[in-house]
Every structure is written in structure tokens, then in C-alpha cells.
């Protein structure tokens, strides 16, 4: 059973990726490529549906499907890969996605948690070996910040604000 950090709580992951053992209606995370090949079958399934994006995938492609999705996972495969931060902010801000936004991959480690949370990620599938307690502490590593950011992190003080405050 996979454990994930959701809203700073360590919980059992109810979601399954394609290929993982699960009941027919269990919540499923498909890749964007899988959704692309067979959109009808995926969108018509009875259980909850999520989509996993690689760094090169464009969130724009997902826009029309978002109302049907309960989860979007973005990949952070290594320390240098930063496209997922833009994916997260776009999903939350431009597309108003309110479902679970999950960061997944070998790069999901405590030193990135603050940035991830500020970009709207509320669930972390930590890299193997990462200490969940340290990751929870890192959520609030900074109590102040300059830029507008997601409501995941409540800052004591902030300098710049967005035209529309984040949901």
C-alpha cells in the first residue's frame, strides 16, 4: 500500500495507476497518453479518474476534461525539472482546478515541498526514502514570502498579491 502526504497528513493512497492491482471501479490515474488514445473509455468509467502529466505535457490539453477529473498528478523526476511548477499554478489559477493536485516522482523531496505547496500542490507522493515528518515540517519552511501563492501555505506576511486572490 502506498502512503502519500495529503494536506500534510500521511494517508493510504486510494488511487491506482494503470497496471496496478485494483477493482474495476477503483480510482484510477491514467497517463495523458492513455487518456489521449482512448478518451471515451476513460471518461465513461464509473470510478474516479485522475490524469498524470509528464513535464512535457501541456495542461491546455487537459482543459476540457478537468470537470471530470478528481486528481491531476504532475511529475518531478529530478532536482532540476521545474515545468511542473508552472503546470500546478496554471491548473489552480487559470483553470480553477479544485481537485487533488499531486506531485510525484524522484524529485519530490523535502527541499522542494515549500515551492510545491506554494504552486498549489496539496498532495505529495514522496520519493522513496523521504521522511514524511521532515516533509510536513518543510511545508512551512518560510513564514514569509514575496509573491502571491496558493492558499496551501498561509504566510505570516507577504509583499505582492495577485489581482484575484487564490481560491
Amino acid at each position: 500500500m502506498r502512503l502519500i502526504l495529503r494536506q500534510r497528513e500521511l494517508v493510504a493512497d486510494a488511487w491506482r495507476y494503470a497496471g496496478e492491482e485494483a477493482g474495476a471501479d477503483a480510482p484510477l490515474i491514467a497517463t495523458l497518453a492513455e487518456l489521449r488514445t482512448d478518451p471515451e473509455r476513460h471518461l465513461a468509467r464509473r470510478g474516479a479518474l485522475g490524469v498524470r502529466l509528464t513535464p512535457v505535457d501541456r495542461v491546455e490539453e487537459l482543459a476540457t476534461h478537468l470537470p471530470r477529473l478528481a486528481l491531476v498528478a504532475c511529475e518531478f523526476p529530478g532536482p532540476g525539472e521545474g515545468r511542473g511548477y508552472s503546470q500546478g499554478r496554471l491548473l489552480r489559477e487559470r483553470y480553477g482546478f479544485a481537485g487533488e493536485l499531486r506531485a510525484v516522482g524522484a524529485g519530490v523531496k523535502q527541499d522542494l515541498v515549500f515551492h510545491l505547496a506554494r504552486c498549489g500542490f496539496d498532495a505529495l507522493e514522496l520519493a522513496p526514502g523521504e521522511d514524511p515528518a521532515a516533509a510536513v515540517r518543510a511545508w512551512q519552511r518560510y513564514e514569509v514570502g514575496y509573491q502571491p501563492g496558493a492558499a496551501q501555505v498561509v504566510l505570516r506576511r507577504q509583499r505582492f498579491f495577485a489581482a484575484t486572490p487564490p481560491a
Binding site: 532536482p79 521545474g82 511548477y85 515549500f114 515551492h115 519552511r141 514575496y146 509573491q147 505582492f160 489581482a163
Partner: protein, 550 residues
């Protein structure tokens, strides 16, 4: 100058605590070198040839006397008693111990300094014109906007893991003393037809392996839109910039691949579409920051004639001081180019002494120029002679600013692990050959810029004379370019021909400037002669005559 408020201080303190913890985990084996690397880089820490190198940010080059004293104390206690000022207005320490770095950063934080984002693939320390606020030709003081950019870019949630580094320069003057056209983004303060203040925005400039001059993406951007527009540029870059090849990852490559029109369309579309979520820059915030950069409480004085008498003082006045917009004042360059010294190096003793000098003569402030010198911006003309004596005693008054020996050099092979060739001994060789000040003055304004490898930290492409270290079968050779410039009309230099051996560099330059002396028109600068005649006449004479032909 800007003073931190509670938010600024809390952020820097939190950063120190974070890095202390990361360093501890690394030393305890919990963070591998591979994992630690991007974290330490974002705190200015490189692992170099001999030791770690720590790059301390001096935002837009402005330092208080107190900060300079702290840098001196840090250099003395944790390094070998000196520091190196760089072309990006930072200070580098070449010999700190990794385990001491968190403590160094903690001490810097007590005087409102940090090393946040001075390296790594993120938004770097923002640079500005060193004559900001005192030059008569400026539209507005660029420093408040630099400070705003510094804050907005620090620990940015979305743009801290970019494809590659990202450098922003702001200039308040059309003379562009900030080399803004060779930055990823260059901002020129301008006024529109209605007199409203804003920026002309350039994008995609840069040196390195693929030197390109930035192109205008927007003729006029109102101040209020500064941050949201930068975010639009960065978002397009973060999403579409190449990440598969480190040498193709700068924004200039993306702009070139798409063409400036297409790139502009993408940015404008992103900026429009993102309007509801634009980061705001309220006028009140601009005013708050601007208030820290109000003109100094100048005395009402009249201009004085240039000093007479001592010839060296006269030369110093002519070369090392610059007009000030307030009568009775002048800006004074502190030359870090004494012959026999490493360009840009300064000892802790000199730092301490200069901090006190700044207190007595220039409102307690010092500036770092991107030509690796320092500047006392606001000196009363009647104090010049006394100041000169003090600087002279510290070997900080070599009257060579703007001359051939006021050269820029990166640290090169002596310190940098990426280098192909040494720069410091070549600098020494040039200083020795051109040690006669009268000869230097006769040559007039000539900028030499030297880099130890293609990364071009020494900006060799935009030197009137550029020197690039190359590796030829394990030997150090040097390629020479002519005609580059980073101010006024930005231009990239042209290679004169095959590279030369290390011991031939200064002699080659001498042959080149001798050609200039022979063909220059009356009062014509070296750069203008090169522009007028092209490189051909120089190229023909630059190489040593073959012994057989002699």
C-alpha cells in the same frame, strides 16, 4: 539605500536556517552530492578547483560601509583575507570551508546581505548602472526597480528551477552602463509620449558560447506591469525552454528558434490570458521603495576647477572621477586594477579602510561597478585631493580607469574548474607591458575583457579587445577579438585569426594598438577606428613576423 523590513529579514533568516539544515544533512550523508548540488548552487556555493567558492550578492552593486566591514571580517576569518568583485557586481570568496558557509551566511544576514540565487538555474542577482542616481543623463533611478525585482524573484515558487540561469539588468540611462543588451532580460527606463514612466523590454541577449544581442519585445511597459510581464516571459521560458542540452537552454536559444515575433506573441498572449492572476505592483509599493533612494542631503556648492599641481593627481582626476549631476560633487572610481594585482581583488584591509573613507567622504556608501572597480558616488569636489591621498596610500588610486589596464578578467584556470586557460597571469603580463601611464593615456579609452573559457564570465565578446582562453592539446592559447562593445551601440567583437600562445598575448595586443596609433584620425577612439577600418589592418600586423621573414 534600501533597508530591510521585518519581512525581508525574516526571509533571509529563514533561508540561512534552511541552508544550515541542508549543509548538515549533506555532511551527515543524508543528502548526496547530486541532491545537495542544486541546493548549494541556489545559495551561491560552487565547488571549485581548490575549494568551495561562495558568491555573495551585492544587489545592483550597492554596499554600505557597515556591509563592507562585514565582508572584510568574513574574508579575514573564513577566507584568506581578500575577496574578488565580479562583472555582475557580486563578491566571490575563493577559499571558504563548506562547513563554515552557513555561519558566513548568518553573519551576512545580520547586515542585510545574502547569497540567495547567485548561481544555479534561477533568477540571478539583478544588476544596474553603477552611476544610478548621480548621472545627469538618466531618465529615472533604476535601483528601486532592481530592489523590487530582487524581492519578487527571491524564493519564487514557480521560477526557481528554470532550464538555465536567468539574468536581469536595469538601466536608467540611454548610455546603458549595465550591459543590459547582453542579459536574458534588459530593462531600459523610458518615458512615453505622455511622460509616463515605464520600460523598454529586451529579451534574449547573452554572451557565452552563443553571444547574442537582446531584442526588443516591448517598446513600452508601464511600471505597474513590470512583475506580471516578467512572469509571462518566465512562464513561456520555463515551459518551452530546452532542458535536453545545457548549451541550448538559455532563453536566447528559445527566442532565436521561435523568432522574436513569435516569442512576443506567446508572451503577450500569456500575459493577457493571465490578467486575473497578475502579480500586482501597486504604486504605493513603488513609492515605498523609491523613498530609500532619495537624493543624498547634498550641500549647496559650486563646481570647482579641476585640481592643479601634482601630475598624478591631475591624471587621477581626469581618469578616475566622473561628472555628478549636483554642482560641487563628483563620482570617484576606486581602481581595483593596480598594476601587479588581480583585477577585481580587494584585501580585507582595503575593505575596512575604504568603508571608513566612504563614511567620511561619500555618505557611507560604496558601489560595485560591472568593470570590477568600486565607486564613491557622492564626493565633494573640495575633498578630492584629500581623498586621493588616502586612496593612493591604499593602492586604490591607480589612474587608469577606462584605459587599457582597467581590464576585466574572470578568475580563469587559477580558480575556476571550467576554465581552459589562465587569465590572471595574462592580466599581469599585460599590466607589465603597458606599465607606462603616458603611453596608456595616449592610447585613450580601450576596454580589454578576458574570459578563461567560452562561458564568457569576463564578457570578452563585448570588449574593444576581447581575449578568450582556449585549450589546444592541453596547452593554454588565446583567441583575440576586436570591436566589441557593451555600452551605447552593443556589438560583438570579431576574431582576428588563429589564437596565440600565452607568452604572446601582451605583445600581440601591443602590435594591435600600435596599428591604431598609426592610423587613427585626430581624437578617434580605438573602438571607432576598428569600426571605421574593420579588423583587416589589425589582423595583418597582429601576428609576430615569422623569424625567417624578419
Amino acid at each position: 539605500m534600501y533597508q530591510y523590513d521585518e519581512l525581508d529579514q525574516a526571509l533571509v533568516d529563514a533561508r540561512v536556517a534552511e541552508f544550515r539544515d541542508q549543509t548538515r544533512r549533506h555532511l551527515a550523508g543524508e543528502l548526496s552530492e547530486e541532491e545537495f548540488r542544486p541546493l548549494r548552487l541556489r545559495n551561491g556555493l560552487y565547488i571549485q578547483r581548490h575549494a568551495p567558492m561562495l558568491r555573495i550578492a551585492i544587489p545592483y552593486g550597492l554596499l554600505s560601509a557597515r556591509q563592507l566591514h562585514t565582508l572584510a571580517a568574513v574574508a579575514r576569518r573564513y577566507d584568506r583575507g581578500y575577496g574578488h568583485f565580479t562583472t555582475r557586481q557580486n563578491l566571490q570568496l575563493n577559499w571558504p570551508r563548506l562547513e563554515d558557509v552557513p555561519e558566513i551566511l548568518a553573519q551576512l544576514a545580520t547586515v542585510q546581505m545574502h547569497s540567495i540565487q547567485t548561481s544555479g538555474n534561477c533568477i540571478r542577482n539583478v544588476t544596474a548602472d553603477h552611476l544610478a542616481g548621480v548621472a545627469a543623463d538618466e531618465v529615472d533611478d533604476p535601483r528601486p526597480y532592481c530592489e523590487i525585482i530582487r524581492q519578487w524573484s527571491s524564493v519564487h515558487p514557480e521560477f526557481t528551477y528554470l532550464p538555465r540561469k536567468f539574468k536581469i539588468a536595469v538601466t536608467g540611462s540611454p548610455a546603458d552602463r549595465a550591459a543590459s543588451e547582453v542579459h536574458d532580460v534588459g530593462l531600459h527606463l523610458v518615458r512615453d509620449a505622455q511622460g509616463q514612466l515605464g520600460f523598454t523590454v529586451l529579451v534574449g541577449g547573452g554572451l557565452g558560447r552563443m553571444p547574442i544581442i537582446g531584442q526588443v519585445i516591448r517598446e513600452f511597459l508601464p511600471v505597474a506591469d513590470l512583475l506580471s510581464y516578467l512572469e509571462a516571459i518566465l512562464r513561456i521560458y520555463n515551459r518551452q525552454g530546452r532542458r535536453d542540452n545545457i548549451h541550448r537552454a538559455r532563453i536566447k536559444v528559445l527566442v532565436k528558434a521561435l523568432g522574436i515575433e513569435r516569442f512576443r506573441d506567446l508572451v503577450e498572449a500569456e500575459w493577457q490570458e493571465n490578467r486575473p492572476h497578475h502579480v500586482q505592483l501597486p504604486q504605493a509599493e513603488v513609492e515605498r521603495v523609491r523613498a530609500f533612494f532619495r537624493p543624498q542631503p547634498y550641500e549647496i556648492l559650486a563646481d570647482l576647477p579641476a585640481p592643479a599641481g601634482n601630475a598624478r593627481l591631475q591624471a587621477w582626476y581626469r581618469y578616475n572621477t566622473h561628472a555628478h549631476k549636483v554642482p560641487g560633487y563628483r563620482a570617484v572610481f576606486v581602481s581595483l586594477k593596480a598594476h601587479g594585482e588581480v583585477p577585481g581583488d580587494m584585501s580585507a584591509e582595503q575593505m575596512d579602510a575604504l568603508a571608513e573613507i566612504a563614511r567620511r567622504y561619500s555618505f557611507g556608501l560604496v558601489r560595485v561597478t560591472h568593470t570590477q572597480n568600486l565607486l564613491l558616488a557622492d564626493v565633494r569636489q573640495r575633498d578630492l585631493e584629500a581623498l586621493w591621498r588616502e586612496l593612493e596610500a591604499l593602492r586604490l588610486a591607480t589612474p587608469n580607469i577606462g584605459t587599457l589596464t582597467d581590464m576585466i578578467a574572470c578568475p580563469g584556470l587559477d580558480f575556476c574548474s571550467l576554465a581552459n586557460a589562465g587569465t590572471l597571469d595574462v592580466a599581469r603580463q599585460i599590466q607589465q607591458r603597458f606599465d607606462d601611464l603616458d603611453y596608456l593615456y595616449d592610447l585613450g579609452e580601450i576596454e580589454i575583457k578576458m574570459s578563461g573559457c567560452m562561458n564568457a564570465c569576463g564578457h570578452h565578446h563585448v570588449g574593444h579587445i576581447g581575449i578568450l582562453g582556449v585549450d589546444k592539446h592541453g596547452e593554454e592559447w588565446y583567441q583575440i577579438t576586436l570591436g566589441g562593445s557593451a555600452s551605447g551601440v552593443t556589438a560583438l567583437g570579431e576574431v582576428i585569426g588563429p589564437s596565440v600562445r600565452k607568452n604572446e598575448v601582451a605583445a600581440t595586443i601591443e602590435r594591435i594598438v600600435e596599428v591604431y596609433r598609426g592610423v587613427r584620425a585626430d581624437g578617434e577612439r580605438f573602438l571607432d577606428t576598428v569600426r571605421r577600418l574593420g579588423i583587416k589592418p589589425f589582423k595583418e600586423q597582429a601576428y609576430a613576423p615569422h623569424p625567417a621573414a624578419a
